[in-house]
C-alpha cells in the first residue's frame, strides 16, 4: 500500500555561484563511439535554465551515454558538449558542486541508514557539518522519507530507494539535475509523485534533464528529445511531438452509421481538413478528421456538419492520442525513413 500522497515541501532555490549561461546545456553534433560501435550519433540540442528536458527512446537508444557525456563521465568522440558554460572534461570541483546526478541504478550504500547515506552524500560534496542536518531533514521531508531516517537503505522498498537517491542528489542544492530513468521500476502512483517533485524543483529555477522509458512521462517535460538507435529523431514540446507524429491535430466525430459516406464526402471537401477516415476499432460511424489547428477547425467543422441536414452528427471532440501511440507512430515513421542497421549501435 502506498503512503498517503502529500504535497512535496518546497526547497530553497539553488545557490547560484555564477550566473548561468543562456543555455545551461549545449550539445553540438555530439557523437560517442566505443571502438567500432557507435553509441550516440550527431546529437545536438540546448537546455535552458528552469526547464525540464526529457530524453525518451527505446532501451539502448543512447540516453544513458548522452547523460554521461553531459555529466562528464564520458568524453564525446566528436562534437562539443557545454554544461554550465564549460566542457564537462574541464569541470572544476566548483562546477561539479552545481550538478546533481541520479544514476540509473541505486548506488547508495545498502548497509548504511538513510541518514548516513545522506550524510555521506553531503560530505562527498564537501558540505560543512554546520547546518547539514537541517538540510537533510528538509530533503527527507521533501521526498517523504522522514520516518525512515534510521532505516538501513537495504530495507527500503525500490521506490523509497529511488526517492533516497533523489534526496541525496539534491543534498548540495544543485542548479542542474541529471536523472537517468529515475522512475524505472516505480509504480505509477509513485512516478506521479516523482514528477511532482521534479516540477517543484523546476519552479525553484533548477534545470532538470530526465531520461525515461515511460513515454507517457514526456507530458511532464517542457521539451523532449526523442532518440532511436543512438540518433536524435526530434526535439520538441510534448504538444509539438504530438503534432509531428500526427501531422497536425485530430478531431474525432461520430455520425449515424448510415450517414458515414455523406460525412466522409463533406469533410474531405472542407478546406481546413487535411484528411479524414473511418476509425475501424470504434463504434460504427466514428471518423478521424486531421486538421492543421483543431482550435480553429473544430467550430467550422461543427458548423459544416450542422448545415447538412442529411448527416446526423452525434458527437464531436478534439482527439488527443496518448503519448504511447504518438511514440509508436514516430518510431514507425523513423523506421520507414531510416531502417536500423543491425549491430550499428550499442546498448547504453
Amino acid at each position: 500500500m502506498q503512503p498517503a500522497r502529500t504535497q512535496p515541501v518546497p526547497l530553497q532555490p539553488p545557490a547560484r555561484t555564477n550566473p548561468p549561461a543562456p543555455d545551461i546545456i549545449t550539445l553540438d553534433h555530439v557523437s560517442k563511439r566505443f571502438g567500432n560501435t557507435v553509441a550516440v550519433q550527431d546529437v545536438s540540442w540546448q537546455v535552458q535554465p528552469g526547464e525540464i528536458f526529457g530524453i525518451v527512446g527505446p532501451s539502448g537508444c543512447g540516453k544513458t551515454t548522452t547523460i554521461r557525456m553531459m555529466t562528464g563521465v564520458y568524453t564525446p568522440s566528436s562534437g562539443t558538449v557545454s554544461v554550465l558554460g564549460r566542457a564537462p572534461s574541464e569541470f572544476r570541483p566548483r562546477d561539479r558542486e552545481r550538478i546533481g546526478y541520479i544514476p540509473q541504478l541505486f548506488v547508495l550504500y545498502p548497509n548504511l541508514t538513510v541518514a548516513e547515506n545522506m550524510r555521506f552524500s553531503a560530505s562527498m560534496y564537501g558540505m560543512p557539518y554546520r547546518g547539514r542536518m537541517k538540510r537533510i531533514r528538509e530533503l527527507l521531508e521533501f521526498v517523504e522519507l522522514s520516518d525512515a531516517e534510521r532505516r538501513l537503505a537495504e530495507n527500503l522498498s525500490g521506490g523509497m530507494q529511488r526517492r533516497l537517491q533523489l534526496a541525496a542528489a539534491l543534498i548540495h542544492n544543485p542548479e542542474l539535475l541529471f536523472a537517468d530513468e529515475p522512475t524505472a521500476g516505480v509504480d505509477p502512483v509513485l512516478r506521479g509523485r516523482f514528477w511532482d517533485q521534479f516540477k517543484l524543483l523546476k519552479s525553484e529555477g533548477r534545470a532538470l534533464v530526465v531520461t525515461t522509458q515511460y513515454v507517457s512521462e514526456v507530458a511532464y517535460c517542457d521539451r523532449v528529445a526523442v532518440m532511436r538507435a543512438g540518433e536524435l529523431l526530434l526535439v520538441d514540446t510534448p504538444e509539438g511531438l504530438r503534432r509531428q507524429a500526427l501531422g497536425g491535430d485530430v478531431i474525432s466525430l461520430r455520425v449515424d452509421p448510415e450517414d458515414t459516406m455523406n460525412a466522409l464526402q463533406l469533410l474531405s471537401r472542407h478546406p481546413l481538413v487535411r484528411d479524414v477516415h473511418r476509425i475501424r476499432d470504434q463504434a460504427p460511424g466514428s471518423l478521424a478528421v486531421y486538421v492543421e489547428r483543431s482550435g480553429e477547425a473544430l467550430a467550422e467543422i461543427i458548423q459544416a456538419l450542422g448545415t447538412d441536414t442529411t448527416i446526423d452528427t452525434r458527437h464531436v471532440e478534439e482527439y488527443k492520442p496518448p503519448f504511447d501511440e504518438i511514440f509508436i507512430t514516430l518510431m514507425e515513421q523513423a523506421d520507414r525513413e531510416r531502417p536500423i542497421t543491425p549491430g550499428a549501435s550499442r546498448n547504453d
Partner: protein, 508 residues
C-alpha cells in the same frame, strides 16, 4: 582545503559505519584469533610427534631380558603398545601399518639377543608409510636417535661385564707383586737359580698380558698408558732375567725389582680406576650443556609446558598475520565493490578525486585496525599471557600502524587490478598463503635460498612478525631497517594503487 578534508572524512565515516554494522565480521576478527590460539594452547602437547610403533621380535625371544631392555629404551622415542602391536612375523605388522593403526614397523633381527656374535653391525629395519615430509624427517631423525640409544644400552652392558673382568685381573696383579717379593727374597738370600725359576713362572703366567689386554678393551686413552706399562714391565722382566743369568750386581737387581713393583702398583691403580668408572660415563663421556642468552623467562619452558611456550611465542606472529590479512581483505574488496556497485559513476560526477577516496578509506580502515587491536591485544595479554613491555608501547603502535598501511596498500593494489569480489578474495587468500610460507611464520627464513628473502621482504607480515617478537618477547626496539621496509612497502603500494585507481576514476 576544508572541503577536501570533509570529502575524505565521508569515506572514513562510511567505512566505519559499514563495518560496525557487521557484528559477525567484527566478532570474527577479534574473537577468532583469540579462540584459535586458546584452542591451540589447550590442545597442543609438544612439538615432537608420538609415533605409534609395531615391533617385530624373533619368535620366542620376547621375554629375553635383552629384548625387554631394548623395548624399554625404545619408549624414549617411539610408543609401543605391547598388548596389541608386538608381532613375531613382519606381515601382520605391515598390515597394521597400512591400516593406519601404527605409524611405523620396527623389526628386530634374530641376532638381537647376541649382537656381538657376528662381529658385524646388525640392521634394525624401520618401515613407515608417510607422505608428510615433516613427519618423514621426524621418523628418520627419531629412528637415528633411537638406534643410538639402543647402542648405548648395549655398550653399557658390555662395559659393565668388562669391568667385572678387570676385577678378576687385579688378582693377577697382586699375584705378580707377590712373585716379585719372592724373587727379591731369593736374590737377597743368594738363591739365584730359584729366583730365575720364579721369574720364568711369572713371565709365562700371562697374567700381566691379560691385565693390559683388558685395559686396552676398556678405554683407548687409558689403555695407551697401560700398554706402555706392560711393555716396560716385560722389558724389565727380560732385563732382570738376563742380569740373573749374567751375574749382575745385587744393587742392579734390587733396582730392577723396585721398578717392576712400582710399575705393577701403577697398573693396579689404573685397573682399580677403570673398574670403578660408571659404564654410562664410559659409553657417553661427553654431554651437552646449552645456555640461551635470550631473555625468555616470561615465555615459559617448552619442556615443562610446551603449549604455553608455543602459544606465547606464536601470538605476536598471529597478531601480525591477522593484521595484514584483515587489512588486505577489507581493502581488496573496497574499491572493487565501489566499481561493481556503480558508486564510482557518482564519484566521477561529484567533485571527489581518486586520492580523496583512497585517503578516506585508508583513514577508516586504519582507525578500525586500531580499534580491533585495542580489543584483541588485552585479550591476548590477559587471556594468553602474552608479555607486553610498556616501555615498547610507542614502537608497538608505530609498527602496527606501518603494518596496517603497508597491508592496506597491498589490498588496494589488489582491488585496483581485479574485476570482481571473488577475484579480490582469491588474491587476498593467495597473499595469505604466501605469507604463511615465506614470512617466517612457521618455516624459518634461513631454510630458504637467498632469493626467497626478496619475496619475504615485500610482505608486511615478515617485518611484522620479526618486530612484534622483538618488541613483545624480547622487550627490544626493532632496527631502523624494519621501519624503512614497512614504510617503503606502504608508500610504493599506495602510489601504485593510486595511479591505477586514478586511471579508472578518470572520465572517459
Amino acid at each position: 582545503m576544508i572541503k577536501a578534508f570533509v570529502r575524505i572524512i565521508s569515506f572514513f565515516a562510511k567505512e566505519i559505519n559499514s563495518v560496525r554494522r557487521q557484528p559477525l565480521l567484527l566478532g570474527g576478527l577479534i574473537l577468532g584469533p583469540f579462540l584459535i590460539l586458546s584452542l591451540f594452547g589447550v590442545g597442543y602437547t609438544g612439538e615432537r610427534p608420538v609415533l605409534r610403533t609395531a615391533l617385530v621380535v624373533p619368535a620366542g625371544r620376547i621375554d629375553d631380558p635383552q629384548v625387554q631392555q631394548l623395548i624399554e629404551r625404545m619408549g624414549a622415542t617411539f610408543e609401543v603398545d605391547q598388548s596389541r602391536h608386538i608381532y613375531e612375523q613382519e606381515e601382520p605388522a605391515l598390515v597394521a601399518l597400512r591400516q593406519g593403526e601404527v605409524d611405523l614397523v620396527e623389526v628386530f633381527p634374530p641376532e638381537i639377543t647376541d649382537v656381538f656374535s657376528t662381529g658385524q653391525p646388525i640392521d634394525i629395519r624401520i618401515t613407515y608409510n608417510q607422505i608428510d615430509p615433516l613427519l618423514r624427517d621426524w621418523i628418520e631423525y627419531l629412528s637415528y636417535t633411537q638406534i643410538n640409544e639402543l647402542n648405548k644400552g648395549l655398550l653399557q652392558n658390555f662395559v659393565g661385564a668388562s669391568q667385572e673382568q678387570v676385577g678378576s685381573l687385579r688378582t693377577y696383579v697382586t699375584q705378580a707383586r707377590t712373585d716379585l717379593g719372592e724373587i727379591r727374597q731369593q736374590i737377597s738370600s743368594g738363591n739365584r737359580e730359584q729366583a730365575r725359576t720364579t721369574l720364568q713362572q711369572l713371565r709365562q703366567s700371562g697374567g700381566v698380558q691379560l691385565i693390559a689386554l683388558a685395559l686396552a678393551q676398556e678405554q683407548s686413552s687409558e689403555s695407551n698408558q697401560s700398554v706402555q706399562n706392560l711393555s716396560t714391565i716385560q722389558t724389565n722382566l727380560e732385563q732382570l732375567d738376563r742380569e740373573l743369568s749374567a751375574d749382575g750386581t745385587l744393587a742392579q737387581q734390587e733396582t730392577r725389582l723396585s721398578e717392576l713393583d712400582g710399575q705393577l702398583g701403577e697398573l693396579d691403580a689404573v685397573a682399580d680406576q677403570v673398574r670403578n668408572i660408571d659404564p654410562a660415563v664410559v659409553v657417553s663421556p661427553l654431554r651437552s650443556k646449552t645456555n640461551n642468552l635470550a631473555p625468555i623467562g616470561n615465555l615459559g619452558d617448552p619442556a615443562v609446558n610446551p603449549a604455553q611456550a608455543y602459544v606465547r611465542f606464536y601470538t605476536p606472529a598471529v597478531l601480525a598475520l591477522l593484521l595484514q590479512h584483515m587489512m588486505v581483505t577489507l581493502a581488496a574488496l573496497s574499491l572493487v565493490r565501489e566499481r561493481l556497485q556503480g558508486t564510482i559513476e557518482v564519484f566521477r560526477v561529484s567533485p571527489l578525486t581518486a586520492i580523496q577516496v583512497l585517503i578516506g578509506k585508508y583513514l577508516g580502515y586504519t582507525v578500525m585496525s586500531a580499534l580491533i587491536l585495542g580489543v584483541l591485544l588485552p585479550l591476548m595479554i590477559f587471556g594468553l599471557g602474552l608479555p607486553f613491555p610498556l616501555a615498547q608501547l610507542g614502537n608497538f603502535a608505530l609498527i602496527a600502524l606501518l603494518i596496517t598501511l603497508a597491508s592496506l596498500g597491498w589490498g588496494f593494489l589488489i582491488s585496483a587490478v581485479v574485476g570482481s569480489d571473488s577475484q579480490a578474495v582469491q588474491f587476498s587468500m593467495l597473499l595469505l598463503l604466501m605469507s604463511v610460507f615465506f614470512s617466517g611464520f612457521f618455516i624459518p627464513l634461513k631454510s630458504f635460498i637467498a632469493a626467497i628473502n626478496y619475496v619475504a621482504n615485500i610482505l608486511p607480515v615478515t617485518h611484522g612478525i620479526q618486530s612484534f617478537q622483538q618488541i613483545l618477547l624480547l622487550n627490544q626496539a626493532p632496527p631502523l631497517i624494519t621501519y624503512l621496509w614497512l614504510a617503503g612497502i606502504a608508500l610504493v603500494s599506495f602510489v601504485l594503487s593510486w595511479l591505477i585507481f586514478r586511471r579508472q576514476f578518470q572520465r572517459r
